[in-house]
């Protein structure tokens, strides 16, 4: 079975500071990995995805993530956070062999202070 762990429930960061959100996954085969962002009362917006190839992937809004197979991790980073980045962030794993059904982590809430 596939599963995702996001160890940090809540992170507070100052505007302009860097941000890193952790994600660990469990899946026997090659996973497809995703990061989604959800603003209050909204649906999920795709930030970036990893399927294969270069392990450092770039996404929208200045986010990037690095896939590390040896650590079963897919951490999300942003060099300089803006106040508009305050939201909830979800890591998800899927697989072709599972019809791309997504399993999500519990999410990390990011608060940005001025």
């Amino acid at each position: 079975a596939q599963s995702v762990t996001q160890p940090d429930i809540h992170i507070t960061v100052s505007e302009g500071a860097s941000l890193e959100l952790r994600c660990n996954y469990s899946y026997g085969a090659t996973p497809y990995l995703f990061w989604y962002v959800q603003s209050p009362g909204q649906g999920l917006q795709l930030l970036l995805k990893y399927f294969s190839g270069d392990t450092l992937v770039q996404g929208i809004k200045g986010f990037e993530a690095e896939f590390k197979r040896s650590q079963s991790s897919f951490n999300l980073r942003k060099p300089s956070v803006h106040w508009s980045d305050a939201a909830e962030y979800f890591c998800a794993v899927g697989a072709r062999t599972n019809d791309y059904k997504l399993s999500f982590g519990a999410g990390t809430t990011v608060t940005v202070r001025a």
């Binding site: 995703f34 649906g43 999920l44 795709l46 995805k49 998800a92 019809d99 791309y100 059904k101 997504l102």
Partner: protein, 114 residues
Amino acid sequence: DAGVTQSPTHLIKTRGQQVTLRCSPKSGHDTVSWYQQALGQGPQFIFQYYEEEERQRGNFPDRFSGHQFPNYSSELNVNALLLGDSALYLCASSSYRDNQETQYFGPGTRLLVL
């Protein structure tokens, strides 16, 4: 290009009632997946529809059922509502035919069961 749309946006029901939620996929997509997101949690996979058939199902009781129409739109039905069914219901679309692994989410329907 219209994204994934869902209706209604909000809904209030009482225990024991039945509810129908609707989803129109992104243009060009043929697969619809439904997720339940309880407050403070990550989305949980309910089921997935392709070619008007349920292809995958998560760990949800038979009270949850669905349908996909020839135009690829979909409905989620929940019978005998329980208080615990209160959640944000998210629809996601993708293209199985084109082997596109990425799921794009709609804004969700927020269901409150009293």
